[in-house]
């Protein structure tokens, strides 16, 4: 019956590798931290200036000087280091973060990503999203396959872009797609969520895509 939010996060966690440094966006991506395999060393980066952070604090132990990029209170762990915003984005822009997992409004078959503004609505700002998608080695989008019956996987994004040709993988409630953003090989459906069908995906996807042989 398609993947739940938790299951999408669990699927995204399969992209983690031992030793990875990872930046997780707000929403479903945050849940990915619950699925880091035991024994695997994965350090989470928070773009406000922290590498290596732990779970939310216990009541009474929250520290106003210790927050993540979502402005939530978090905790320090043994691997933690702190640095300035300039150093944090030097790390991101310089390609030193292995994986960024984030949400999206639209993804195009060439890897274009839109997730920061809807013209005509109040714009809140892009925060660090443009830097993350431009700088991180691998960019994985986790999002609902469609929104109110509007497809979100498109031939071309209609919303203003967060990044052009930046997405490597899209995980939706219905399946997983890879995008050959550098090579121009387009988008490929590589996995189906349990209960999802090729027909259903075809109906809900505007983008062109290949279908991997295994399906």
């Amino acid at each position: 019956m398609a993947w739940t939010r938790e299951q999408m996060a669990e699927r995204a966690a399969k992209e983690l590798r031992d030793g990875f440094y990872v930046n997780l966006g707000i929403g479903i991506p945050t849940l990915v931290s619950n699925y880091i395999p035991r024994g695997m060393s994965v350090q989470l980066q928070s773009e406000n200036g922290m590498l290596g952070f732990g779970p939310f604090p216990y009541e009474g132990e929250e520290d106003p000087d210790l927050i993540n990029a979502g402005k939530q209170t978090v905790t320090e762990i043994s691997t933690t280091s702190y640095f300035s915003s300039a150093d944090s984005f030097a790390m991101i822009r310089g390609g030193h973060i292995d994986l960024s997992i984030l949400g999206a409004m639209q993804v195009a078959e060439n890897g274009d990503l839109a997730n920061w503004m809807i013209p005509g609505k109040m714009v809140k700002g892009m925060g660090g999203a443009m830097d993350l998608v431009a700088g991180v080695k691998k960019v994985v989008v986790v999002m609902e396959h469609s929104a109110k019956n509007e497809p979100k996987l498109l031939k071309n994004c209609t919303l203003p872009l967060t990044g052009a040709g930046v997405v490597d993988m899209v995980i939706t409630d219905l399946g997983v797609f890879t995008i050959d953003k550098k090579g121009g090989g387009g988008m490929t459906l590589i996995e189906l969520a349990p209960g999802a069908t090729l027909d259903e995906i075809r109906a809900k996807t505007q983008a062109s895509y290949h279908i991997a042989n295994v399906l």
């Binding site: 216990y58 009541e59 978090v74 300035s84 700002g125 925060g127």
Partner: protein
Amino acid sequence: MQKVYPDPRAALAGLLRDGMMIMAGGFGLCGIPEQLILAIRDSGVKNLTVVSNNCGIDGVGLGILLDSRQIKKMISSYVGENKTFAQQYLAGELEIEFNPQGTLAERIRAGGAGIPAFFTRTGAGTQIAEGKEQREFDGNRYVMERGLIADLSIVHAWMADTEGNLVYRKTARNFNPMMATAGKVTVAEVEHLMQPGQINPDHIITPGLYVQRLVHVPNAVKHIEQRTLRKRTAPAGTGEEV
């Protein structure tokens, strides 16, 4: 050279004028120079351009200067936590220039470091690049961004010595160190004030030469924007959640 001033008002005396550009440190409400912001409010200075990653929340931090309508323009990466902001913006009373967060941080760092312009991949092929020079290096497309210098920077530090050497605490560091370098004048509010030599010189983040004025704010109240907690699981055998 006496850098220590008795209170925030005194620390800003003679530095404020209508229409100036001010950089204010902090990320969300973490590491913001709140006492200096209050002193700016009290000064009544107007038509400010403020460079800050966010714009506080309603009634706290830079939100205070929105309430008092002293801000003409913000240069920020994200302002989503503030209803007053939305109202003033939609009413055409407030300008906003959005910068990607890393571009904003680097523009400030560049301003302080004597770099008038640099290239970044961030924003290439997006609205952010419009009207800016774009150029290819080694097969990738980059946007040229300009360094940023302010008339005044206000920053918050955890500890300082009277020489102006600053140390920050945890994620309250954020934009403060770069802004300290990019103000024509920099004023720091500090929670702990020490004598020279009391901070290990290997631990100093902002050397004293960047700080012209200091004010000790020993009782600063620090705010939490999103208090997120986990439940204590019970000690083994008790079966209770505490």
